[in-house]
């Protein structure tokens, strides 16, 4: 799974930067089209949720998404690592 910030929702409050135990979020440095400094991500693949969500069948940690007031943080399936697909390819 891939961690994503939905730019259409994020308002740049930086609360995610405060709570992630892995310090994956860092305050953004450049405004987007709407003038918002969306946080940047530092190696998001370190997030246990990215790695283990599918495996455990439930959300792990999830602090950032719970605290994000704008419902902007989500995990989206990443094609190459989709277990289903993997099964098919091999």
């Amino acid at each position: 799974m891939k961690l994503e910030i939905d730019e259409s929702r994020c308002k740049g409050c930086n609360l995610c930067t405060l709570v992630c135990p892995y310090k994956i979020y860092r305050p953004g440095s450049r405004p987007n089209r709407k003038g918002i400094y969306v946080p940047e991500m530092d190696r998001p693949e370190r997030c246990p949720n990215c790695r283990l969500q599918e495996l455990y069948g439930r959300r792990l940690c999830g602090m950032c998404a719970l605290i994000c007031p704008d419902q902007a943080i989500k995990w989206v399936p990443e094609k190459p690592y989709e277990p289903m697909k993997v099964v098919i390819e091999y």
Partner: protein, 179 residues
């Protein structure tokens, strides 16, 4: 001479304060008549907010700006909502980093927010930069009147910062990207 000036941007940029300062400058220090109005909603916090000033030598009866000759636009959404149907002889000052489109009328692009942040350290004075630019890029208000009005309106202790911002704006009003 009558001027109708419209300001737009997002909530928190000081769009209303800009209009208030301009109105005050015109009314108290340029000895004109001025009426300031605004449109706001709960959405103003995120969405586009708008304020307007009419400046006239005559008494102002109908108070709403209907066909501005001057625009100060500080966000893309503000441009889309309030700045896209300008008349041909209008002039628009826009924050060139935040407004991505350009109008069909004459315009002056001012990188107000980034200058405010980078050169003055506080992005909240971007609106003052825009006001400063208004004195050099248009004739709606005099620099002297604006300076006094700014000093009347800003919190104690921030006078210098704001005057610096105004000065910076006056420079940018001449130099800025323009059509």
């Amino acid at each position: 001479m009558r001027h109708e000036i419209r300001f737009s941007g997002f909530g928190g940029q000081g769009i209303i304060l800009s209009a208030v300062i301009l109105g005050r400058a015109a009314a108290l220090y340029d000895n004109k008549n001025a009426v300031q109005t605004q449109v706001y909603g709960p959405e103003a916090r995120g969405g586009a907010s708008m304020s307007a000033v009419i400046i006239d030598d005559e008494p102002i009866l109908y108070p709403k700006v209907r066909d501005p000759d001057t625009y100060v636009i500080m966000s893309q959404q503000g441009f889309e909502k309030y700045g896209c149907n300008t008349r041909d002889d209008a002039v628009m000052l826009l924050d060139s980093d935040l407004v991505h489109d350009r109008p069909s009328c004459r315009y002056v692009g001012i990188p107000a927010t980034s200058v405010a942040k980078k050169e003055l350290g506080r992005d909240i004075v971007a609106n003052i930069i825009m006001l400063g630019a208004l004195t050099t890029a248009t004739s709606v208000v005099s620099g002297g009147a604006l300076e006094k009005a700014i000093l009347d309106s800003v919190p104690k202790g921030t006078e210098d910062l704001n005057l610096k911002a105004m000065k910076k704006g006056q420079e940018l009003g001449i130099q800025g990207e323009s059509s």
